[in-house]
Amino acid sequence: MKKRVKLSKRLTAVFTFVILTVMALSFVYPLIYMFLNSLKTKTEYFQNPFSLPGAFRLENYQIMFEKFNLLRNFLNTFFMAFVSITVIMALSVFASYAFSKLRFKGSGIVYIAVICTMFIPAQVTMIPMYYMFSKFNLVNTYTGVIISYIAAGLPGTILLLTANFKGIPGEVIEAARIDGAGYFGIIRHVVVPMGMPAIAINIVLSFVAQCNELFTPMILLQDTEKQTVIVALSALMSQTKGAGDPAFQMAGMLLAVIPPLIIYLIFQKYLTNGLTAGAIK
């Protein structure tokens, strides 16, 4: 009797492991598929998309960088992400400190108003924003995209940082104040160091989100040499739809996936722990 229970328990464990492995494969296989097929020629791809490539051919990548100039698009993406995330973090640290630690008059309602803007879809404000930007000559510029990234990124960052800064003990801040630290001193020596894990997670998440964003940069950037990787790639995919060369497209798609993926692999431990710990506040 007992043996049978043990056996069925074992079987369930094996069964769950197999199911989870199959699911995991479905998440990893597309990456492998992209890699293997990016090394093929178009004819090779259409003969059998599952076969191993006949030779280690980097031609597709070469075209991506030389003719299609994808490196430029990568630099655009990183530049806009760097500037906007720097500004988002700087503004959010001050605002979140105020929301979490200075009980100023009206802070509750202002906080809710800021967070609510997170739920206004980009499509709702894009049309007027586009014409507002065109009045200031910001359409088709990095500045325009950076500004809209900042506005879109602020509420989420403030939400997470405020929740995190609430955990900083008031005594620590009071002690710093008695030691003579002013407003900026407290932020520099107490809030930023103690909130660093949350700030780091936020930087990583914002970077990934901006690398992967389509709608805003697609509407605002028309010149290929100003576009982000995702926008340039999706333009390429739309042009060649039907008559496209999947092998060539796979090379571009894999390249676009790599930066967020590397970031994820580096920060994976902090991210998963942070997400499970701070997902709900």
Binding site: A13, L102, Q123, V124, I127, L233, A256, P260, L261
Partner: protein, 308 residues
């Protein structure tokens, strides 16, 4: 003299602290407020005003009253878009069941759970556009899925998956579930981590079986998590599907897989530039999001009362 001044500074009177906090607080949030007011708030107001005009993005912008709203609501297309959005929402229960099951497995530290946890979150790191194109490639007429089917002798099942409404809607839903399992599992794990493990021990001692514990402890404990992911997922289905639709079907065939947010794009920057009409549609979308979110919050508060 100097000493007494120092002491006075250290023991700050409450009124002065409050005044100082007010000043510092408002100055700290002022830059954020200015940015959001200029880049989100002002366009929101302009968009609302323009939704009552026949604005074409150029010079024409005459007041036409409620005409845009009447046109949207009397258009048969709108109800198709709405039904597409409603159909896509069916992915939420599937995502919840699979995601919560996975998170329970992770919580029980099933073999290899740490590895699975990081792999399951991978789709969240890949751009939705790339995910969409991958699905489009896999399910294209000459794509891998059809190749497998015909090599298995199931040629009858091969089709242009994204070329017909029913199968296209299904593939997009599969894609949404695939993308979100990791997200849901992570949320579920977060919810479970906040449950006191003593409760499970007590239930075990009292003789509750595995499934009893699952249905009477674990799932009720995840009430808040389930609530949160329902609300977020509904908002996401209404406003976040743009990159998936754009990369997989472009809303087609016809408007068969077009969602409201994609239609706003088509009418403004896509196929035509009826900015007034698109603005009206965008505000109807915003209204739907607000109503559904508030409705869910009301409903879930009541549900929680029942639970207690």
């Amino acid at each position: 003299m100097n000493v007494s001044k120092n002491i006075r500074r250290k023991v700050r009177p409450a009124a002065r602290v409050a005044r100082q906090n007010n000043l510092q607080g408002w100055l700290s949030v002022l830059p954020v407020l200015l940015v959001i007011a200029a880049v989100r708030g002002y366009p929101l107001l302009v968009g609302f005003q323009k939704s009552f005009t026949n604005w074409d993005g150029m010079t024409r912008s005459d007041f036409v009253g409620l005409q845009n709203y009447i046109r949207v609501l009397s258009d048969l297309e709108f109800w198709k878009l709405l039904s597409n959005n409603a159909i896509f929402m069916l992915f939420i229960p599937i995502q919840l069941v699979i995601g919560i099951t996975v998170s329970v497995l992770f919580y029980e530290k099933t073999a290899g759970w740490k590895f699975f946890r990081s792999v399951f979150y991978l789709p969240q790191m890949i751009s939705s556009v790339i995910v969409g194109y991958l699905f489009a490639v896999f399910f294209s007429f000459r794509g891998p899925i059809n190749t497998i089917l015909s090599s298995l002798g199931l040629e009858a099942l091969t089709r242009d998956w994204l070329g017909q409404r029913a199968s296209a809607l299904m593939i997009i839903m599969v894609c949404l579930v695939w993308v979100n399992i990791g997200w849901q599992a992570m949320l579920g794990l977060g919810g479970l981590a906040s449950v006191d493990p003593g409760i499970f021990e007590a239930a075990k001692i009292d003789g509750a079986g595995y499934f009893q514990r699952l249905f009477f402890i674990t799932i009720p404990m995840l009430g808040r998590t389930i609530e949160y992911s329902c609300i977020m997922s509904v908002i996401w289905v209404l406003s976040g599907l743009f990159p998936y639709i754009f990369s997989m079907t472009k809303g087609g065939p016809g408007y068969d897989t077009t969602t409201i947010d994609y239609m706003v794009y088509l009418k403004s920057f896509g196929t035509s530039s009826e900015m007034g009409y698109a603005s009206a549609l965008a505000f109807i979308l915003l209204l739907i999001i607000m109503l559904l979110t508030i409705g869910q919050m009301k409903l879930s508060n009541r549900a929680n009362d029942w639970g207690e």
